[in-house]
Amino acid sequence: MAIASDDFRFIAELIREQAAIVIEPGKEYLVETRLGPVAVTAGLVNVAGVVRELRAKRAGPLLQRVVDAMTTNETSFFRDLQPFEHLKERVIPDLLERRKAERSLSIWCAASSCGQEPYSMLMMMRESFPQLQQWRVQFLATDISQQMLAKAREGSYTQLEVNRGLPAPLLVKYFHKKGIEWQIDDSLRRAIDWREFNLSARTWPGMGPFDIVMLRNVMIYFDLATKRQILANMRKVLRPDGFLFLGTAETTINVDDSYASDVLHTACYRPKAA
């Protein structure tokens, strides 16, 4: 059953208010596909039932499940590959040199979804930079969705998920079979601090400073004002010589001119000198 236009507007406003994510007209199918399963789980007849409940009570587990369902995005291990090549070839060697005195590194995956990005980074670091095992590496991974964070902490992936972008030698080395799923080893799961975080929060107390921030494929969902606020907050938590990665379809150009793109990898940005 097609979603009523009033119900669509209600959900779009709710998601904008809760997560600052813009759901434009024309995305009715997205709301229907994402919220259909939420309705079933909640024992409601359809998406209209979900909207009715939320109009009566804009809080509680149902609200969280709706936000989770509407903010969950597709991801895969080593997604797009080139950012990981750039991290391996340029960014981490550069930081190993700059931070050799303090031997510490701070990394933030800011929209970690169900964990493939932070786990991909960790596997790459263990394979290519074993010396980092002797460093103090703080690895924070955040997401707005509690459901995604729970899955990321568990580190269990379906066959279809491990088929996406994960080199077989890494599957063999870092995963074990758990029933029909593949679970990443405890040492990697424990190496990451998983936390719920809303990027559209006005201020980010207690965050940073970070050497590397992965903010990939999430800015596209925000309106311009929210993008500006996020990039302004990011400047405060990113070290002046740190690295910010955006998705390949995202840019700081005409949004926040205090970042400069890396000539070798245009989705990698650095703060311009003040």
């Binding site: 895969s76 080593f78 590959l81 066959q159 279809l160 491990v162 088929n163 996406r164 972008g165 080199p167 077989a168 030698p169 599957l171 063999v172 995963f175 074990h176 079979k177």
Partner: protein
Amino acid sequence: MRALVVDDSAVIRTVLTRILTNLGFEVIQASHGKDALDKLKGVPLPDIALVDWNMPEMNGYEFIRSVRESAEYRDMPLMMVTTETEMEQVVKALAAGANEYLMKPFTPEMVQEKLQILGISGS
């Protein structure tokens, strides 16, 4: 770029051929390991071979071992594409010389991502 597809299922051969052709590959098909070794004779070495595990005559594991022991074909990149989904089998295939392992069912994106991992792109 050239690819060799080795699978006893005509349906899988057709699906993989379509995916690889769309990526710019010329595709040679074979229905089992021995057939593949015959078809490799006298042609330029393919840039990648996608090989099923369970096949008559010569299975994919035996084919991979033969390729790695052969002076002519040993450098050919090999990807196992199979319904075998246990850890032991992935380990065994890699130990025999497979460079990658893709579990069925697969999507065109998965094939493309695995090729990217190997640094292989189409035309």
